[in-house]
Symmetry: C2
Subunit: 230 residues, 2 copies
């Protein structure tokens, strides 16, 4: 049995962030299906696993099941889980994912915060509007799309300048700070209304091309496209 | 000379977050004044220290100056700096601030994300509207205040349920996950329009009373109230 169990659909941006991290660290895992249409993610047993971390209506159903030596523990926030995976499996897979020193880690943490505070809010709205609303048969909100494309463009401008002087966000090596952008970025780089954000700036285009072609991320997309077994 | 230099005004919520952390870890530091009225925080030399981390118009002028053995490094994001201080000074001061194991750290990281993603956005708007706008002679926006009090109330509701089962956010020990709420919380617990958010819920009221009376936080307030030397 794999050491790690991830609960939730791989199309979820939070779940796919964790999967990319597991592939980078070469950690074996199993996916446990959660039937959101049946409300399983709101079942008491499942909510308990989220240890009180239940903000908004967004799906936050990731659980990391530990090996017996660790005891049972849970986490529902994908960036916290990603950091944990890097610590737990420090000596395997791509070792520089969370840096090789506490100084490198501080730089990575800074750009992880850039993603969660600046990139994620507008890009999450856009992922919902441009990718999920059509699949769910919900009406799109053109005003929200326009407003958040504008907000995201400002964030991408900061990245464009940063990536002028640095190959990746936190320095010369690919890190968790880059990886964390892949889940939302994937949907938006493929949507007509937002694709230009990933191609207009020379540096962002180079960076996006490089990080989105990591073998780990290609494996995540394979998992997302695989037929669901039950 | 103190090992750490913090650039920026102690009334800044980002700066005071870092100061609380330094006091908890018993790290000596010096404050370097930055004259925002003269635009020093936008001077090229200062922006360079922010290593490209320049989102929005918010002041992000913290620099952590390392001891020579570390070389020079900078960070402009207060949560990344706080994590770094905990790693760098792991063996001194309050040792449990960032947990005693990678599992504890994962739980703390989860609630640090709760603060930066959920608590911080509405509370930052309120800090500006309720505390800084009046000091700066700017007009308040009643709609923005009402909207963000509503948003913050929903976050506080999640905390109220979490703190029913746990003394602090990440578990039974005070941690960085609690500390990170102090800067914005201090302004809002003292503003007529938002004070109720910190007193209505029994568990939040208990938690807020406990964390805001930490000796480290009282020292931060002393620094904030001290006359500025030049």
């Amino acid at each position: 049995m794999a050491a790690v169990t991830v609960y939730g659909p791989p199309l979820s941006t939070a779940v796919s962030r964790v999967l990319a991290c597991l592939f980078e660290k070469e950690v074996s895992f199993q996916l446990a299906a959660v039937d959101m249409a049946k409300g399983q993610h709101k079942a008491p047993d499942f909510l308990k696993l989220q240890v009180g971390f239940s903000f908004g209506s967004a799906f936050r159903g990731i659980r990391l099941e530990q090996t017996p030596s660790d005891g049972s523990t849970y986490s529902a926030e994908s960036r916290a889980i990603s950091r944990y995976i890097c610590d737990k499996y420090a000596d395997q897979g791509y070792k520089a994912l969370f840096g090789n020193s506490i100084l490198e880690r501080a730089r990575i943490d800074q750009w992880l915060e850039a993603e969660s505070q600046n990139f994620n809010p507008p890009s999450s709205v856009l992922v919902f509007q441009l990718a999920f609303a059509p699949r769910m048969g919900l009406k799109q909100d053109p005003e929200a799309i326009k407003e958040n494309v504008g907000k995201l463009a400002k964030v991408v401008d900061v990245y464009e300048r940063r990536l002028e002087e640095s190959r990746f966000l936190a320095g010369d090596e690919f890190s968790l700070a880059d990886l964390t952008h892949l889940p939302n970025g994937q949907f938006l780089a493929n949507a007509a209304e937002s694709a230009h954000l990933f191609t207009t700036g020379t540096n962002v285009a180079r960076w996006w091309g490089e990080i989105s072609s990591r073998p780990s991320w290609k494996k995540v997309i394979e998992v997302q496209l695989a037929p669901v077994s039950s």
